[in-house]
C-alpha cells in the first residue's frame, strides 16, 4: 500500500468524488464494498514511481537483443556506456569523464570517472571497457549493432582509469555509436547474468521482475552522479491500449512513456490530474517496397504508389494525426534534415497515368505484410484502400515479428510492408547490399560513405542532405511520418523525456514536485 503523508497532495477530482458519493449509498453490501475499494489509489508516494510502457522486454541485456523495450528499461538506468545521449540527442559524458580524439580522428583516449562502480561494488576500470568492447566486436558476438565496433583496431588499458581506442578505419560517427545502448560497459564477472539479473553501473539497480507484469528497480545510492530523487521505481507493462488508458485514469501508472492509444489523447487531456506531451521518436514510418521485384522495380510504379497514398489521412487514421510527415528517410530533429514532403503530391489521377505509362493501366496485385504494431496494421488497412483507388489490389497479411523478420526482412519475400525504422540515424541502411528494400544506388552509397568520412560538420551535413535527396528521388519507399511519442504523466511528476532521440526513460531525471 502507498503511504499518505501530510505533504502529499491528494488530487481532487470532482468527477471521481461524485462517483464515489453516488456509490456510497450502495456500499453497504459486500459486493458494493468490493466495487468501491479503489478510492485511495490516487494518493501519491514521493519516494516511488510507476512508469508504464507498452512492450515488455524478454531479456534485459541490450548487447544480446535488438528489442527497443530493453533500452526503454535499462538505458541510463541500469546500464551506462562511456558516453550517452541526453534528451536533446546531445552527446554527454557518462562513465568517461572526458575524452580526446587525435587530430586525424584515429585514436580516442577516454578518462574514466573516479568513483564509478558496478552495483556489486567493484569499481569500473579500463579492463571492463576493454572486455566489453572486445566482446562486442568479437566474431562470435551477438551484439545487434556490430557496426559500432567494426572501426576499432585495438582497445588498450594503459592505466585503470584510461582507455585508448585505436581505429583501423576512420568513422565520423564513432563517438555517437558509443552512446548507443549496445555499447554499454559490463563486467566480466557478471556478464553471464546480464539477461536476467543485470549488474550495471547506473543510478538504479535491478531488484525483481514479475514477467508479464512489472519490473522493480531501486536507487543505487553509490552512483557516481549522486543520489537520484526517487527511491523505488517500477516499470509496468501494459500492452492493450484500452487498458493503458484506464491504468492512467485510475492512477495505477504515474507516467506512460508512449501511450498506444493516440485516439484517447483528448480524453486524457481533459483529465486535470494528467499532463499529456506530444513529442517525437526517431521512428521513420514507411511503406517499404521491394525494389528488386517487378513491377515495383519500375520507378514509375513506386512513384504511382507514393502518389496514391495520402500521407495526411494515413497519419490521421493510424495515429490520430500526431505523426510528423516526412518525405525521405530522415528525422526532422536532426540539424541536417531537409523537408522533402512536397516532392510527391497526393494525386490519384497522376498516379493512374503513371501506372498506365508503365503498362499497368489495369492494375495489379501485391502482397502487403503487416507487423503487429497498431500503426502498421491500421495504416496498412488505410493504404490498401487508397491503393484500391488506382487499381492496385493489396492483399493484407498480418504477421508476427518473427515471421516479419524471417520472411520480409531476411528472405525479402514481400511486395509491400508498413514498418517504422526506430533506430536513430539509420539512413545508412539504404547503402547496405542485400537490405530488404532491394535497392542499390552508387550515388547513395557515395553519399552515405561521405557521411562517415566527413572531416567537418558542414561536410557531413551536405552528405546527409545529398543522401536524403537521392532516396526521395529514387522513391525507394513511400515515406509517411515520424512516429510520435505521446507521454502522459501525473501532474507533479517532472522529468519524463518528451521525445525519444532513442528509446530511453532515464529515471534519475524524474522528480515529484
Amino acid at each position: 500500500m502507498m503511504k499518505i503523508g501530510p505533504e502529499t497532495p491528494v488530487p481532487a477530482s470532482s468527477g471521481r468524488l461524485r462517483r464515489h458519493a453516488r456509490l456510497g449509498t450502495a456500499c453497504s453490501t459486500i459486493l458494493a464494498a468490493f466495487l468501491c475499494s479503489n478510492g485511495l489509489a490516487t494518493a501519491q508516494n514521493r519516494d516511488s514511481v510507476t512508469v508504464c510502457q507498452t512492450l515488455e522486454p524478454t531479456i534485459l541485456d541490450p548487447t544480446a537483443s535488438a528489442a527497443a523495450a530493453i533500452r526503454e528499461v535499462t538505458y541510463a538506468n541500469i546500464f551506462e556506456g562511456l558516453v550517452g545521449f541526453d534528451r536533446n540527442s546531445k552527446l554527454v559524458p557518462r562513465l568517461a569523464e572526458s575524452w580526446q580524439a587525435s587530430p586525424d580522428g584515429m585514436k580516442y583516449t577516454f578518462k574514466l570517472r573516479a568513483g564509478a562502480a558496478f552495483h556489486d561494488g567493484t569499481p569500473v576500470t579500463s579492463a571492463d571497457v576493454k572486455f566489453s568492447f572486445d566482446r562486442a566486436g568479437a566474431p562470435d558476438s551477438k551484439n545487434p549493432q556490430k557496426w559500432i565496433f567494426e572501426p576499432i583496431g585495438a582497445v588498450a588499458a594503459p592505466a585503470p582509469d584510461t582507455v585508448e581506442i585505436t581505429l583501423k578505419t576512420y568513422a565520423a560517427d564513432f563517438l555517437e555509436g558509443l552512446a548507443w545502448g549496445d555499447a554499454i560497459i559490463l563486467s566480466e564477472k557478471s556478464v553471464a547474468k546480464a539477461a536476467t539479473e543485470p549488474v550495471g553501473t547506473g543510478p538504479y539497480r535491478f531488484v525483481r521482475w514479475n514477467r508479464g507484469d512489472r519490473l522493480v528497480l531501486e536507487r543505487n545510492d553509490a552512483w557516481w552522479g549522486g543520489k537520484a530523487s526517487i527511491k523505488s521505481a517500477t516499470f509496468r507493462f501494459i500492452a492493450d491500449p484500452q487498458a493503458q488508458v484506464s491504468a492512467m485514469l485510475s492512477g495505477d501508472c504515474d507516467a506512460f512513456t508512449n501511450i498506444g492509444a493516440p485516439e484517447a489523447v483528448d480524453q486524457l487531456k481533459k483529465d486535470g490530474r494528467l499532463v499529456v506531451t506530444i513529442g517525437s521518436t526517431e521512428g521513420e514510418t514507411i511503406l517499404a517496397m521491394n525494389n528488386a521485384k517487378a513491377p515495383l522495380s519500375d520507378i514509375r510504379v513506386r512513384k504511382a504508389i507514393a502518389m496514391a497514398v495520402d500521407r495526411k489521412l494515413v497519419n490521421e487514421g493510424a495515429i490520430s494525426g500526431f505523426g510528423t510527415p516526412i518525405g525521405s528517410h530522415f528525422s526532422p530533429n536532426h540539424p541536417a534534415y531537409i523537408d522533402l514532403t512536397g516532392e510527391v503530391k497526393f494525386d490519384t489521377k497522376a498516379a493512374k497515368a503513371l501506372l498506365a505509362e508503365a503498362g499497368l493501366a489495369n492494375g495489379f496485385k501485391v502482397s502487403l505484410r503487416l507487423p503487429p504494431p497498431a500503426y502498421a496494421r491500421r495504416g496498412g488497412e488505410i493504404i490498401a484502400a487508397m491503393l484500391a483507388e488506382i487499381g492496385i489490389t493489396a492483399e493484407i497479411e498480418p504477421v508476427e515479428w518473427p515471421q516479419w523478420l524471417e520472411r520480409v526482412f531476411r528472405n525479402k519475400d514481400f511486395d509491400l510492408t508498413v514498418i517504422s525504422h526506430v533506430e536513430p540515424m539509420d539512413l545508412n541502411i539504404y547503402a547496405r547490399d542485400g537490405y530488404y528494400f532491394g535497392y542499390s544506388s552508387p550515388e547513395l552509397k557515395a553519399a552515405v560513405a561521405a557521411t562517415k568520412t566527413a572531416r567537418s560538420e558542414a561536410e557531413r551535413k551536405a552528405a546527409f542532405e545529398a543522401a536524403q535527396r537521392q532516396i526521395a528521388r529514387d522513391q525507394v519507399n513511400a515515406f509517411l511520418f515520424m512516429l510520435p511519442k505521446i507521454t502522459v504523466a501525473k501532474k507533479g511528476l517532472t522529468g519524463m523525456w518528451p521525445s525519444w532521440p532513442m528509446p530511453a526513460n532515464p529515471l534519475a531525471e524524474l522528480k515529484w514536485e
Binding site: 537483443s65 562470435d140 507484469d213 501494459i238 492493450d240 484500452q242 487498458a243 484506464s246 518473427p402 524471417e406
Partner: protein
C-alpha cells in the same frame, strides 16, 4: 475397479505421449527462426549462428525431443528462447493468474448455473422458467469475448467500478487482484453458466418425475424439502459430468479472455510465445493445455465410473 483404473490411466498416458509427439513435430515446422527473432533487423549471419549454438538448435530434432520429454519428468522444461529463464518458472508465474481465473469462473458458473436451473425446474413451464431458458439460450450463443467487451463497457468505462484490464499481481493485496479478475471470470463463466442451467433443469425435471419423489410427496414433505433433499442430489450426477466436460472449454476460454483483459496468464503467454517464436516455451505450454484437458477428461471418466450406481454395484 483397479483394472478399470489401470486401463484408464494407461490410455491416458498413451494419449499424452502421442500428443507430445504431435506438438513437437508441428512446432518444429513452424516458419521462422528464433535466433533471428531475437536479434531483429541488425542480425548478421555470425550473430544468428552464435545464438543457434547457444540455444542448442544445432542438435538434431530427435535429440531435442528426447531432452524435452526426459526433462518433463524432472520438471526441467528447458530455458525459454526469448525470456532466457527456465520455462517452468515462467509457467509457474503465469499459473498464478490463470488458475485463480479459471477456478473463479468455474465457481461463478456452478453457482449461477445450478441456482437458475433449479429455479427453472421448480417452476417448470412458468414464465420464470421461460425467462431463464431464454436467457440461457442467449448465454450459449454469446461468446465470452463479446461478454467481456460488453462488461468492460458497462462496469469499467461507464460505471468505473472495476478495472478494464491488466493485473496488479498478488503482491499488492489479494483484493486488488480479485477485482482485476472479477470481470474476466464473470465473462468466462456466463456461457458455462448458461449450459449448466439447461443441464440442471432437465436433470431436475427427470429426477422430479421419478417414483421416490412421489413417495416423498406422499409422506407430506414440502416442495422445497423435496427439491433440496431428494431431487437435487439425484440430478447432480449429470451436472457434475457436464462441469468436467466443460472444464476444457473453460481452460481454453482463458486464452481469449486473457487477451480481452490483457491479463498476464498462460493464455497470453501462448500468444506471446507465438509472437516471439519461442518454440521451447510454446511446446511445453501447449502440452500443458492439452495435458490438462486429457487428465480432466480421464478424471471425469473415472469419477463417473465410481459414482455411477451400476458400477457401484459391481463386485470389487
Amino acid at each position: 475397479m483397479l483394472r478399470f483404473l489401470a486401463r484408464r490411466g494407461l490410455s491416458m498416458a498413451a494419449t499424452l505421449l502421442v500428443a507430445a509427439i504431435v506438438i513437437f513435430v508441428v512446432l518444429e515446422i513452424l516458419p521462422g527462426d528464433p535466433a533471428v527473432a531475437m536479434l531483429g533487423v541488425s542480425a548478421t549471419a555470425e550473430n544468428v549462428a552464435a545464438i543457434r549454438l547457444e540455444l542448442g538448435l544445432d542438435k538434431p530434432a530427435f535429440t531435442r525431443f528426447l531432452y524435452w520429454i526426459s526433462g518433463l519428468f524432472v520438471g526441467d522444461l528447458g530455458i525459454s528462447y526469448s525470456y532466457r529463464v527456465p520455462v517452468a518458472q515462467l509457467i509457474a508465474e503465469r499459473l498464478a493468474v490463470t488458475v485463480p481465473l479459471a477456478l473463479l469462473a468455474q465457481m461463478l458458473a456452478v453457482l449461477m448455473g445450478i441456482t437458475l436451473g433449479v429455479f427453472a425446474a421448480a417452476r417448470a413451464h412458468s414464465r420464470l422458467d421461460a425467462g431463464i431458458m431464454a436467457l440461457s439460450q442467449l448465454g450459449v450463443a454469446t461468446p465470452n469475448f463479446v461478454f467481456g467487451i460488453l462488461l468492460i463497457l458497462a462496469f469499467s468505462l461507464t460505471l468505473g467500478w472495476l478495472p478494464a484490464g491488466g493485473f496488479p499481481g498478488w503482491g499488492e493485496g489479494g483484493w486488488r487482484a480479485l477485482r482485476a479478475l472479477a470481470l474476466p471470470a464473470f465473462s468466462l463463466s456466463l456461457p458455462q453458466a448458461a449450459i449448466l442451467a439447461r443441464i440442471t433443469r432437465s436433470a431436475m425435471l427427470e429426477a422430479l418425475s421419478e417414483d421416490f419423489i412421489r413417495t416423498a410427496r406422499a409422506k407430506g414433505l414440502t416442495r422445497g424439502q423435496i427439491i433440496r433433499r431428494h431431487a437435487l442430489p439425484n440430478a447432480l450426477v449429470p451436472v457434475i459430468t457436464m462441469i468436467g466436460l466443460q472444464f476444457s472449454f473453460l481452460v481454453t476460454g482463458t486464452i481469449i479472455v486473457e487477451n480481452v483483459f490483457s491479463l498476464p496468464g498462460l493464455g497470453r503467454l501462448v500468444i506471446q510465445a507465438i509472437g516471439g517464436h519461442d518454440v521451447i516455451l510454446l511446446k511445453s505450454l501447449v502440452l500443458l493445455f492439452v495435458g490438462a484437458v486429457i487428465v480432466i477428461n480421464a478424471l471425469v471418466d473415472i469419477a463417473y465410473g465410481i459414482v455411477d450406481p451400476r458400477l457401484r454395484k459391481m463386485p470389487r
